[in-house]
Symmetry: C2
Subunit: 418 residues, 2 copies
Amino acid sequence: MTSQPLPGFRDFFPEEHASLRSIFSAWREASHRSGFREYEGPELESLELYTEKSGEEIVGQLYHFKDKGDREVALRPELTPTLARMVASRHRNYRKPIKWFSIPRLFRYERPQRGRHREHFQWNCDIVGEKGGVAEAELISTLCLGLSLLGLGPQDVVVKISDRGWWDAFLTHQGIEEGKKGEVLRILDKLEGAPQEEWQKKLGSLAEPVAQALTSKAIQSPGLNEVRQGVADLGYGNWCEVDLRVVRGLAYYTGVVFEVHDRAGKFRAVAGGGRYDHLLKKLGGEDLPATGFGMGDAVLSELLREKKLVRPVAARAEIFVVAETGERSLALQLAGMLRRAGHAVDYDPASGKWAKQLELAEARGARWALLVGREAAQGKLLVKELAARKQGQVSFRQDGGGEISLEWGVGDWAKVVA
Amino acid sequence: MTSQPLPGFRDFFPEEHASLRSIFSAWREASHRSGFREYEGPELESLELYTEKSGEEIVGQLYHFKDKGDREVALRPELTPTLARMVASRHRNYRKPIKWFSIPRLFRYERPQRGRHREHFQWNCDIVGEKGGVAEAELISTLCLGLSLLGLGPQDVVVKISDRGWWDAFLTHQGIEEGKKGEVLRILDKLEGAPQEEWQKKLGSLAEPVAQALTSKAIQSPGLNEVRQGVADLGYGNWCEVDLRVVRGLAYYTGVVFEVHDRAGKFRAVAGGGRYDHLLKKLGGEDLPATGFGMGDAVLSELLREKKLVRPVAARAEIFVVAETGERSLALQLAGMLRRAGHAVDYDPASGKWAKQLELAEARGARWALLVGREAAQGKLLVKELAARKQGQVSFRQDGGGEISLEWGVGDWAKVVA
């Protein structure tokens, strides 16, 4: 049997998991500070929930199957349909705007490549029930706050803001019928990286005015203006620029859309989102205005690695209890007591020689070693500060019930050693 | 389209998610204090990983299918096979014993019922590379610490400890051949709730000695003694009792096994685990001794509900910024500044009447309202402590770059209001 995961899937060994946790912490902290509440849905949903939103084409990218009850089910490729389902079932319980976030695990059957896996985590923030551009400003400032908590700033990333509403008016003005607009937007969505002759040919007589619009520095729209003003007030104006090439391929966006890219343009989009005012209703729910974004862990991790900003919260033992043969029982009592008092405590279950136990203490990254030796009979223990190579002695006592207590709290050990 | 999840699956609205988070926090905290490091694996694995461990019968309970690359895959029903796979691939990188924990989401196609869902979360702690009973003691004390962080104590739950090694010796002594032992253990596993005549008939001549063993108060074994001593030293002796009826149905357990039950016996097991020394090798990995436990969120939640110990960490706004018409921009600047300073801040995007905004502030559970009115022109803001119905005034100023600062930090607002 292979020891590898399926292609496109990842094992998170403790080191890697610590990096992932530091990303989740930043996402949660930014969401919490910005007034979003966490929710979560099932990972398996009825297949219909996805085809309803994205059409039958989506099926090619899904992990889907028939369950043992003959239901067509799919592993969720995104959270928005679940959000729509949940909002439909209980939105009357919540004051609008509903500000919710989640960190779902998502699945897509795609060709695995750099920054793209078949399974990933994604930060989702959505605001339901608010039609003003202050909602998008709120979302963009929340994602900037999340990125800044990870050490990224406007020198590293840019939030590109665009407006499907502007494109809609532009295309109407160019005489494009309603039914043909989607096709043009799909071409615009693929502009980046496509050879100029190719898209010029595809756009035909539209090529010239589109090229002009894309290079214009003076693009304005009521939607864009409101969002930009809000983002500037919230303190992230210098993270953003207008870029009409961002149209977001998906058909359901209705207003302002945005993407986060690394400034150097080396990676795929770090995050993307926008307004999707009619989607909840289309999914069989309520006709509520809505806007949201998603940020995956994969491209973000690549960027953090490149910027040397991977700062895993290492789970280290704070105290390592070392015991002489015969003192194991007392050592465990001390470990149990210190853990109940809130400390991270470990010890060597093998209880061999002191030197061997101390070796493991260093390997575990412990700050303190608490040594239980023969002086324990006189109520004394040795405290070592491992990296500083300092040591001292503390007394302990046991009350009638066997409950153990130390003369010095761990917070004071630094004063004990010399 | 239905607004309900698939049968056996759960939506976690913010209230329910807060309860789940408080459980995860306790699990993480107990693991961390006890020196376990977090890891995670993929949710989809090759089907073979599970049939290898549990035989073909497991397939009936799995969500499994053929992916688009024609691989037989399954949603993980448990984490141990993934752990075995991961340990096999990198165990040389880690000092033994390896102490790892995880909070995986698991899937089983079972009939949904109280405390049993088709999708649930499970706390897993495992120790690999240590054969002494101190490892089981470590696991049991960690799970007791986790339960105590949730408010549960030995008056609510009992850890029932048994020893497959003891049963093995007992059955040998009774003249049962090696190949027949598994069958007897399976009968013992179903004792609870089965009518006496039925299992007496099934056990035949073994019924009498088995009944004697089960009621004996003096059962001892080297394995049990070591584990019980360790658990007592670590401070959880009064949570535990020996109960030989616990045999854990699964064939791969080799030594001490244990289950956590509510004292009243109203629910299914809250947790279960034990030693599985040969499993890693069987799964194609290394021949390393191993022991571990799993604790699901579902039965635990039922128990916490019954004991009125559900204490969700409510994500509330700390500060709600209220703005007079025309002062929206300043309000957003204040919100952005306060969020960057680490506070949880919200506001009403609709910016209607003060009374309406304050209503939303109360609905969001904010402690403070910061009111931006006409006095803002004189650099003054009103601070209200909402529940206490007290208020006061603070000054603010903006430097040349527009950066805003408050005269009083939020920590001092309590002194400002009267």
